[in-house]
Symmetry: C2
Subunit: 575 residues, 2 copies
């Protein structure tokens, strides 16, 4: 019975919420879907623009992926679709090979989504979810902040109406220097007003003066981008401001998303693969951290491999419907949950609305000024640019702080993917650096107790006959040699030594290299008539050691507690 | 005073043994130098051949490097010079670019030694010694075994006198299939007899029948390769066996090693750099492990950065004297120590002898058959081919076993450097895999004690109100999420939960990602009215946590012992 339940859950996770779906849940889901939509339509079009794609593809990216995730994903409220960060990574992956917006570029974007999907899916099936979690928080945070700066910079060209390059800071400054004199002032004024509208109106609306609106104010604020969209369309339609040089979105083909397999060329696949791997990693990190926050509150379980599979299939869905890579969106997920969504049906409903929009209402957006979309992006993305995490991180851990700055400057000064790779590699080097420099202390007895402390920090009892050592790290090939060097050095200092006791209370694993280092030390010390002892060895470590020769050959003994060890070996000093 | 001693030691380490050098030490050193020489001359020439270089360069490689190490190195008995493994790596690095034995090839070998020297020296000065220790024992062992097979295969061409390719097993089989019919039978017979001589005579000599020779037998066995060398030279000189098609070494230019800077071309440097890095790593691993074994016995200290500097300068010495990369030789170091060498003066003396040999006795070796050198190499190298380490490793640790087989097949089936890289990368992935899958257990109280054990393994007390967890690994970005998933899953199972207590006794480090995961969990659990507690937090970890907000915001408390924690939180269950 439990087994069949497990199988149902595994092969059709949606059963867990579909089986007791009812009208009251539907009402909540419908309401939240409507609110999400008002955010999703402008965001979708804007993020398509960030990705260098026609705005309509942003709508396509919000249809099938969302439906697929609703039925396979583990989170009840996660909203899947286009996201700024993934869009700019898509842009950075494709522009070296194709001209942004060209038909081959659009084809390649679909192929990229398909690749991201396949990579995520395969990793999930092989239970390699752990591999994709290799990005530490400081690196991902720094990456998001630096990318936000680049995304904002990439939109400046729509505000000025000049062709700026925002691949990195250097390119941006260079192209700005060249093109700034050709700025279209009308577009700039219109764009700045849009930014002020989006940035300050919410502050005014949420201020005390209009408190009477109550909880409705929140929804009004959320709908402001959509309000601006319709306002500006009205300005173009009625007052023809486009005649002053303000560019608009232009003709959008209406219709159902095209259900086609992207053109598969191995040559192109190999070119896009590195970018696809990076996007798969980042989209998973984004998605799982959003899903986890909501899973906690709903007391629902969340399996990272299952999530990887769901996200993978959602991206495959994006790839075969003319869209680009997608992931979980933080802003829309929060809105969805706050608006009272009960089940993933909310996502299904909003997809249906998006289908209706892309079938019948695309004509509306023809006259939407590009500067409005750029303003939407800049305002929403600029909230992410916050340097407090840098200070907090540096204060807590220098290693994490270093990784964070490396990532930041890598993204800004080189490019978005190289920056991330450098950041990830630097975290590993710093992790290995730490593992390879374990804290090793000579310890002594705190008199009157059975506790041992570092002799350099505390007033403790020691004995010339006996060396007590504690190492605060698992013993592996990276650090076993440090222990050996430490012991060689201590042995060379003290000619009266008879016993070396290693306190193993912090050791949960001893790999083969470390085992052999212990065996060598045991043999070498034995020749010097010094006995090697271990104390407080953990159960699992002991199980492993039983498969080796160390226990037979050990010149000393294994002691249950460190106090027992020193007390037995030198009872005159340690009473 | 202590400071000036330190400075002397740092800038002129030889002072420690030169300051009380005397006649009796000199006698011991002289004797051991003579014994080492008898091994070094044939080995040096043979390993030069493995490296694809003229035999004389093997002698050059034993002069300046040995003198440099004697004055800078930390080990008293380490014998620096040509070594089979480094020679075949030199061969593998150079053959893609030059024809073995050609003048440009010889030039490039010197440049390679110089590069290896510079890399080691710089890493040593920057105290990056730890970086070079990234190769685990199973990988290095497997690498040595697989390389030994390749080295033996690479010498088969001299036994058969046909041009075989031993870059990897595939190439070897292919070329053997093609050229086997052209084998020179006389050379083969002569080579096989040489192999039998070197392989079985030591066994006969060390058998019971000639026990009367006592300890002398050991020295006779060590000198056997030299005996064979002179025997075969005699055969060529007196019986002209070279007329039957048995090839000899040929003219060797006598003289002092050429003291010249190798031709430095950036283009070539960049080509050789990857190989140089690999050789630097392997030579350091070889050298330090040999040096450490002897350092233990002499109760002398050994600093890995200092060793790296000494090895680096020794290789620079090789590069500017027409030689190729060198490292510590296990066989010669053991012979040196066993023969009673007291100080590095032994190495200096043997260098002087080698200078004399290369000045006046190179004519002797003109008529040495190549098959004899090949036999010397095959016999000495074949002893390394031993599959017991594979079994031992597999039994102790599957992860180490996998890395070992990956390296083995990588070296044999691809090539020597790629195999090593794959092996090293696989150990890291396996290490990260382990760190990212920490052992997390729900623990309960063993009744009547204050000890806690895994609830799945032992009969223990638990409470519905309280979840006790222990994680056996440092909390980092690689595994903090596992803890979170584990807690999400436990929370979803138990609706009566009021407290979560994490036992931190195995945690020596919490990085920022893990700290934030704890903060998130604390916040999420607080919303569910579940308090998060920590117990048995180590001093250094606590110091770090004080720099964070976690302690202020923690919904539960920090408890000194896990027993205190559960006893305070649920006294009815845990009495």
């Amino acid at each position: 019975m439990a087994d069949s339940q497990f199988r149902t859950r595994f092969f059709f996770p949606a059963w867990s919420w579909l089986k007791d779906y009812n009208q009251s849940k539907f009402k909540s889901d419908l309401l939240s879907a409507l609110i999400v939509i008002s955010l999703l339509v402008p965001q979708g079009m804007a993020y398509a623009m960030v990705a260098g794609l026609p705005p309509i593809t942003g709508l396509y990216a919000s249809i099938l992926p969302m439906i697929i995730y609703a039925f396979i994903g583990g989170s009840l409220t996660l909203s899947i679709g286009p996201v700024a960060l993934i869009s700019i990574m898509t842009f950075a992956t494709l522009t070296p090979f194709f001209e942004a917006g060209s038909p081959t570029y659009i084809q390649a974007a679909c192929l990229l989504a398909l690749l991201v999907g396949i990579i995520s899916f395969v990793l999930g099936v092989l239970r390699f979810g752990f591999l994709i979690r290799l990005i530490s928080h400081p690196v991902i945070k720094s990456f998001i902040i630096a990318s936000a700066v680049l995304i904002a910079f990439s939109q400046v060209k729509y505000l000025l109406d000049v062709p700026l390059n925002a691949d990195n800071i250097g390119e941006f400054v260079k192209s700005a220097w060249e093109y700034l004199p050709y700025t279209n002032i009308n577009t700039l004024i219109f764009g700045v007003i849009s930014i002020l509208f989006l940035a300050y109106l919410p502050k005014i609306l949420s201020s005390t003066r209009i408190k009477f609106l109550g909880s409705k104010a929140v929804f009004i604020i959320k709908a402001l981008p959509l309000v601006l969209v319709f306002l500006s369309i009205g300005l173009v339609y009625f007052f023809h401001i486009d005649l002053y040089g303000i560019k608009t979105v232009g003709e959008i083909p209406s219709g159902f998303p095209p259900l086609t397999m992207p053109y598969w060329s191995w040559d192109l696949v190999i070119k896009l693969l590195p970018g696809a791997v990076m996007i798969a990693m980042v989209s998973f990190v984004e998605s799982i951290s959003i899903a986890q926050a909501t899973a906690f509150q709903q007391r629902s379980e969340l399996n990272s491999n299952q999530e990887l599979i769901a996200l993978g299939l959602a991206n495959v869905g994006a790839g075969v419907t003319g869209a680009f890579p997608v992931t979980g969106s933080l802003s829309r997920t929060v809105v969805n949950a706050d608006a009272g969504a009960k089940t993933p049906m909310s996502g299904v409903i909003s997809s249906i609305f998006i289908v209706i929009v892309s079938l019948y209402f695309t004509g509306l957006f023809k006259q939407l000024p590009l500067a409005v979309l750029a303003a939407t992006i800049i305002v929403s993305i600029w909230k992410l640019v916050d340097f407090k995490p840098f200070i907090k991180t540096w204060r807590y851990s220098k290693a994490d702080g270093i990784a964070m700055w490396i990532t930041f400057f890598g993204v800004l000064c080189l490019d978005i993917s190289t920056g991330l790779i450098i950041g990830v590699v630097s975290t590993f080097i710093l992790l290995l650096w730490r593992i390879s420099r374990p804290h090793i202390a000579v310890i002594g007895l705190v008199s009157g107790t059975q506790h041992f402390r570092n002799i350099n920090r505390h007033e403790v009892l020691t004995s010339q006959k006996l060396l007590s050592i504690r190492i605060d790290e698992n013993l592996t090939f990276l650090n076993a040699n440090n222990l050996k060097e430490f012991i060689i050095s201590e042995v060379s200092k003290n000619p009266y030594l008879e016993h070396v006791v290693i306190n193993c209370s912090s050791i949960s694993n001893i790999d083969l290299s470390a085992l052999e280092t212990l065996e060598e030390m045991n043999a070498e010390l034995k020749k010097l008539k010094i006995a090697l002892h271990l104390s407080e060895v953990k159960g699992p470590v002991m199980d492993r050691l039983k498969c080796s020769n160390l226990l037979n050959e050990l010149s000393g003994a294994i002691h249950l507690s460190h106090y027992q060890a020193v007390h037995n070996l030198d009872p005159t000093t340690y009473k």
